[in-house]
């Protein structure tokens, strides 16, 4: 009798674990997400890139999280890179940029396909969080999820101060492009 009861309990216990295992099977992660930033004014175009962004996608919840070290941005001119970190992003104080959002519409992550989606969530840059809805494209092929999105970040919205002296060289709105592949975690 007792044995039967215990077996039942064990069954319940294992059952309660099962959605967890399933959720794990449906988590995708990528660690070489490419972030391009682009500033354009009539006087100067500035480009920089980071190849080391990371992303995690919890498929069941359609939840996408991305994270990036500000110091990983590479510029052609090293002095410009230093000014970017020291004067504008203050990357000693705010080392990370983050995005966390829910992807819509609902996607069947097991099927190959291409989807135009929106991700609604919060963008954290320079220690300031902003609610954002970002449009992008998701491609699923051979269980690999590819992200591709372009959006704008207004410096003022994240309290990144650009002195009026530099307005001619640095745009008030920076274009950000995200590209990368996420592999399923087992």
């Amino acid at each position: 009798m007792n044995l039967l009861k215990n077996t039942k309990l064990l069954f319940v216990a294992l059952l309660s674990l099962s959605p967890l295992l399933q959720a794990k099977a449906q988590t995708f992660a990528g660690k070489q997400i490419k972030f391009n930033i682009f500033s354009s004014t009539p006087i100067e175009d500035i480009k920089a890139v980071s190849y080391t962004g990371v992303a995690v996608l919890v498929a069941q919840k359609q939840e996408l999280s991305m994270q990036l070290m500000i110091k990983s941005f590479e510029f052609d001119k090293k002095l410009m890179q230093e000014h970017f970190n020291e004067n504008y992003m203050e990357s000693d104080k705010y080392p990370l940029a983050k995005f966390k959002g829910i992807i819509e519409p609902k996607i069947d992550w097991t099927k190959d396909g291409e989807y135009n989606v929106t991700a609604k969530g919060t963008l954290l840059v320079h220690g300031v969080s902003q609610g954002r809805t970002i449009n992008g494209k998701i491609t699923i092929k051979n269980k690999i999820v590819s992200l591709d999105a372009t959006f704008n970040v207004a410096c003022a919205a994240h309290q990144i101060k650009i002195p009026s002296l530099m307005f001619t060289k640095i745009a008030e709105t920076i274009q950000v492009k995200v590209q990368g592949n996420l592999n399923p975690l087992n």
Binding site: N6, L9, L20, N36, E44, S65, K77, K78, L79, D92
Partner: protein
């Protein structure tokens, strides 16, 4: 029997905890994927390659040329100052023009010329250690400078041989950025000369400098430095000569650095101000001085990477 029960409850508990933790799990997963070790260099301990008078641990970036113009005015007070010289502004005790070039991000070579003694200087600066957020706690830069006095001799025998015109400075510079606003530096130095002020003044002169920067905001810093020299190897001369002490404000505007300084040293170059500062902060010997530094990026970069290729129209 009890063991089995315990085991089952343990599993249930795990499941419960795992469900609660799943939100944090994403964050810890993100952090575990992140490769921060690669980007843990502590950059910009100082904004400029110089502090008030001395060099800092910073070197020029690769292919960047720094044009530096420096000026030291006359005594603000005392016998040579006051209103008759507009508090020293009528007098230029020293002027300096110099060019520093970054051969690599860590190696800088430079040339300069001062009004005082018509001194030409050649310098090499090599960064040996770079501070990191985890690991290396300090910056170390080795600075070496050759000085050549180009002026006519004051007395017939002043420069009996050509070597008498030369002086050599070797200075290991150590610094640490303690926080984004506070950086401190220590720089022991050996100056080798052939012309001295007499038997009490050794040819091999030791000095020990201390410097610091306190950022007031992102572009404005308070800078200060002091060099201990007379008490180290020529204490008998401590009454006639003084240790250089300078304070200033440093303003950075993206490519330009201006500093507005007050110091007791008449001279600008290390090879001159370390051995022969004759003015004191007391008795009106302090003077105003400024530095203008402009950075130029030379040779259009051969960068073919479309991701970082920037354009100036």
């Amino acid at each position: 029997m009890n063991k089995t029960k315990l085991f089952i409850f343990f599993i249930l508990l795990c499941a419960l905890l795992a469900m609660r933790a799943s939100a944090q799990e994403v964050d810890s997963l993100l952090n575990s994927l992140s490769v921060d070790q690669q980007f843990n260099k502590v950059a910009a301990t100082f904004k400029s390659t110089h502090i008030v008078l001395s060099n800092s641990t910073e070197t020029q970036k690769k292919r960047d040329l720094d044009l530096r113009i420096r000026h030291h005015f006359g005594d603000i007070g005392g016998e040579f100052g006051n209103a008759h010289t507009l508090y020293g502004l009528d007098v230029a005790t020293d002027l300096f023009i110099g060019l520093d070039y970054g051969v690599t991000d860590n190696l800088t070579v430079g040339i300069g010329r001062s009004k005082h003694d018509e001194l030409f200087n050649l310098l090499v600066k090599q960064k040996l250690l770079q501070q990191q957020t985890v690991g290396m706690p300090i910056n170390l830069t080795l600075f070496a400078q050759l000085g050549l006095v180009a002026r006519e001799p004051f007395a017939a025998n002043e420069f009996a041989s050509y070597n008498d015109r030369l002086s050599y400075l070797i200075q290991p510079i150590l610094s640490r950025k303690f926080s984004s606003s506070l950086s401190l530096q220590v720089m022991p130095a050996l100056l080798i000369r052939s012309k001295t002020l007499g038997s009490a003044d050794p040819e091999n002169l030791l000095s020990l400098g201390f410097a610091g920067r306190m950022k007031l905001n992102r572009r404005l810093s308070f800078i200060a430095e002091y060099t201990l020299v007379n008490e180290l190897s020529r204490s008998e001369l401590a009454g006639d000569l003084y240790n250089p002490l300078g304070v200033g404000l440093e303003i950075e505007t993206g490519g330009h650095i201006f500093s507005l300084n007050f110091m007791n040293s008449e001279y600008i170059n290390e090879n001159s101000f370390i051995p022969s500062t004759k003015k004191s902060w007391k008795d009106g010997g302090v003077r105003f001085g400024f530095t203008i530094s402009r950075n130029f990026s030379l040779f259009k970069s051969k960068n073919k990477n479309q991701d970082t290729k920037s354009t100036i129209y």
